[in-house]
Symmetry: C2
Subunit: 269 residues, 2 copies
């Protein structure tokens, strides 16, 4: 039986990571948990995020995965070390791969980071960047206006351009040559962000970088799948399964097997 | 005492990997072995390459490294599995990281590879690419004319353009969008190669990709250096130390500590 890669997120944003893993590692079997009933994790307390992430991981480890991927910036910022201590398989988040890609590509040594309020406030990207390279200059900006634009499907309108411009244009006064898209929703706005920042600024897409890191670590551990068969991927969600299935099929472009999971949903405190 | 990263090559080409490791991981201490007395490994038999690589690794493990990096395409193609079985620390070659970067970036699913005769004949890149992604199309070309151009410092002349054009222009008839520079010397010819292949073809520099993979694996194993001090790097070479020191200082732009090592040099059989 092929051991799967387990990927989790508060909702559907982590499907961008699934898509990249399936593209870069088409032999691998994926299981995915979207905790849609309790999404978004952003406004939750760190204790709640840690608790939810633990519950999702405990659910997924029943399927004997060979790796856990936390495909959510908030959960990575708060829970990565906690989950690492909890399981004895590799645990990969979305923050270190994005930070590493930026360090690999920057020539000016000045890296921009945009993300949700929670991610930027946690300073997780700054810590990750400085751990690798102590003298890197980091310019961060919380962009809480971006997720609603993406969720409305509003990727390229004049309104979108104006929202993006007024949020990040001031970053151009720094010698930034890499901008980390520190939220799984932001790659949908890539074209608009590029128009505002200029073509010479490299946009770092965490999903792509995370999938590459999954590949590198599995290969180092000699755990890459060798199968010639197309694996069946399995999805779980705690909220409305119809909506989840619709989005997942649209995004991944294939039939998916989905199991709804019913969990208690505490009010946001 | 900080555990170093051990990097080895048949000669000075692997210094491109050292430079990238120092750039991406400035906290890390590096030890390097250039087996210059027995370079190049290309014309040697696989048995000889395996034997030499083992000797170099056995020399370097005296210094208790936390990782071995084989910064030579020929030695990676022939010796990676052998060295992996010999030591109980991670061993990273230059082939898998380049292959992984190409899989990550290609949109057309068609990847080009150029390298020395030995590397191309070993089909090591093809195997590495297909292991990750079974349906990738690979177009390979041995370019034995390129290393002499680089060693003469002839990066941008009309002659160089003609040699490069006649060697690889025919690859443009394939939908290649990523070209792996499968020899540590080739990045010097990047501009000329880009002129011939077209700007839209992504050139994959193994040194950059290998350093990133070193970073990812060390972080997964929680073995990244945390030191704030600038480490002293240590170099060993089996051939002329003056020449080695001159090249290493020019390339790395810093004072280096060098210990010559005297070894028997068998004739090329």
């Amino acid at each position: 039986m092929q051991q799967p890669i387990a990927i989790l997120d508060s909702g559907v944003g982590g499907l961008t990571v699934v898509k990249e893993v399936l593209r870069q590692l088409p032999r691998e079997k994926v299981i995915y948990f979207g905790d849609t009933a309790r999404a978004p994790y952003g406004p939750r307390t760190p204790e709640e995020v840690r608790q939810f992430t633990r519950e999702v991981v405990d659910y997924l480890v029943q399927y004997d995965p060979k790796m856990i991927v936390i495909a959510c910036n908030t959960a990575t910022a708060v829970s990565l070390l906690d989950i690492r201590a909890r399981v004895d398989i590799p645990v990969v988040g979305v923050i270190n791969p994005g930070a590493r890609a930026a360090i690999g590509r920057t020539k000016t040594g000045c890296v921009g980071v945009i993300g949700t309020e929670g991610t930027i406030k946690s300073r997780a990207y700054e810590d990750a960047l400085r751990l690798l390279s102590p003298h890197v200059q980091v310019v961060s900006e919380a962009c809480p206006q971006f997720v609603p634009l993406v969720e409305k499907g509003n990727f390229r309108s004049v309104e979108t351009y104006e929202v993006v411009r007024s949020a990040i244009e001031h970053m151009r006064s720094y010698p930034i040559d890499c901008l980390i898209l520190g939220c799984t929703h932001y790659p949908y706005l890539s074209e608009t962000i590029s128009e505002v920042m200029g073509e010479e600024v490299n946009l770092i897409n965490s999903a792509e970088e995370t999938a590459r890191e999954v590949s590198a670590i599995l290969q180092d551990q000699q755990k890459l799948a060798k199968s010639e068969h197309i694996p069946v991927h399995h999805f779980f969600c705690s909220g409305d399964p119809k909506m989840f299935k619709f989005i997942a099929q649209q995004w991944l472009g294939e039939q998916i097997e989905l199991t709804p999971v019913i969990w208690q949903v505490p009010n946001i405190s």
